[in-house]
């Protein structure tokens, strides 16, 4: 359970330590990729809590979502349409949904454990 948190912290630390920065013209893509990644992460947590977690789905979802979001943003830049908004909207809504579901699951788990005790 604590391994992912540790991984996240380690990743943050590495990212800050490496002093790696993205050129400003690509920072849009990265921000969307981060959003997609967060979405996948919360989706994974939710699936884990619901007991329907699958490695393959999670990994493919992670990379596929990131690529799709970045590709959409790229296409949008070349078509002159702010397509990245579509990605932001979709991921934003899913993020909220996922977090809401996670919250409910956690609450029900908590109340169950209290009833038992």
């Amino acid at each position: 359970m604590w391994l992912p948190v540790l991984g996240l912290l380690l990743g943050l630390l590495l990212g800050f330590m490496s002093d790696l920065r993205v050129p400003p013209e690509y920072s849009n893509y990265l921000s969307i990729a981060v959003l997609a990644a967060l979405d996948t992460l919360f989706g994974g947590i939710r699936a884990h809590l619901q007991g329907s977690f699958e490695d393959k789905v999670f990994i493919t979802g992670f990379f596929f979502n990131i690529l799709l979001a970045a590709g959409l943003a790229y296409l949008g830049v070349h078509l002159g349409i702010d397509l990245y908004l579509a990605a932001i909207f979709a991921f934003g809504v899913r993020l909220f949904n996922n977090i809401a579901v996670i919250r409910r699951l956690l609450i029900s788990k908590w109340t169950e454990s209290r009833k038992k005790a």
């Binding site: 991984g7 990743g11 943050l12 590495l14 990212g15 800050f16 050129p23 920072s27």
Partner: protein, 227 residues
């Protein structure tokens, strides 16, 4: 597996955070700009070094001299600073500039031209750029905090209204002849002429009054003494 993805996400977040907080600024200066900047920095370094040396000397003086001398040195430093800040009356060989509207025949029936505070500010800036040491406009000493404003159509300097024309500007400089030549060719003076003012500058003995109001220091705190 989950941990690996979390690690990647953490890295991405950190990079994104870094990118938005201190983005890469591209250096687009060309060779000449770089040279000019280098020159500027060198000049700055020299100035700082000189300042450092001066303060070191002052420090040495404080340390080496006795108590009595210390107070004397401090008083001298205080007097110097007061002089620098424009809190004393100064006099000497300087330049008198007179600003007045062109005579009536020249401007016909048109109303008297009006001075814009921006013009005066620009003139003061320009005089300072030409190494003027002390400036006073219409008997008001210009210090670093002097406001030049327009209130209800009148010009106020140091919150005192400027009297009617001609307006006299007194300037003291290290090299008066040089300043005089520069004033004659100054764009700020040309601006006055464009607005139908006649500007005359001549060398003369001038007396500049002291800045009379109290100087309010808002954004300074005494540095903590290292013990």
């Amino acid at each position: 597996m989950f941990a690996t993805i979390a690690l990647i996400i953490g890295g991405m977040l950190a990079v994104q955070f870094e990118t938005t907080n201190n983005p890469i600024v591209r250096d687009t200066r060309d060779l000449w700009e770089l040279r000019a900047d280098l020159e500027k920095e060198k000049q700055r370094q020299q100035e700082l070094n000189e300042e450092l040396q001066r303060y070191n000397e002052l420090l040495n003086k404080y340390e080496s001299e006795g108590n009595d001398e210390k107070i004397k040195a401090m008083e001298k430093a205080l007097a110097d600073l007061k002089k620098q800040a424009g809190l004393t009356t100064v006099s000497g060989q300087g330049i008198v500039m007179t600003i007045e509207p062109f005579s009536d025949q020249l401007i016909g029936d048109r109303p008297l031209p009006k001075i814009d505070p921006d013009m005066l500010r620009r003139l003061v800036n320009e005089l300072n750029r030409y190494d003027a040491k002390e400036i006073s406009i219409d008997g008001q000493r210009i210090v670093s905090k002097t406001p030049i404003r327009e209130v209800n159509g009148d010009i106020y300097i140091n919150n005192e209204p400027v009297s009617s024309f001609p307006i006299q500007i007194h300037v003291l400089a290290k090299n008066n002849e040089k300043l005089h030549r520069k004033i004659i060719a100054s764009p700020a003076v040309e601006e006055f002429v464009r607005e139908n003012f006649f500007v005359e500058a001549s060398l003369a003995e001038v007396i500049l009054p002291a800045y009379e109001q109290s100087v309010k220091v808002k954004y300074m705190k005494p540095a903590k003494e290292e013990t």
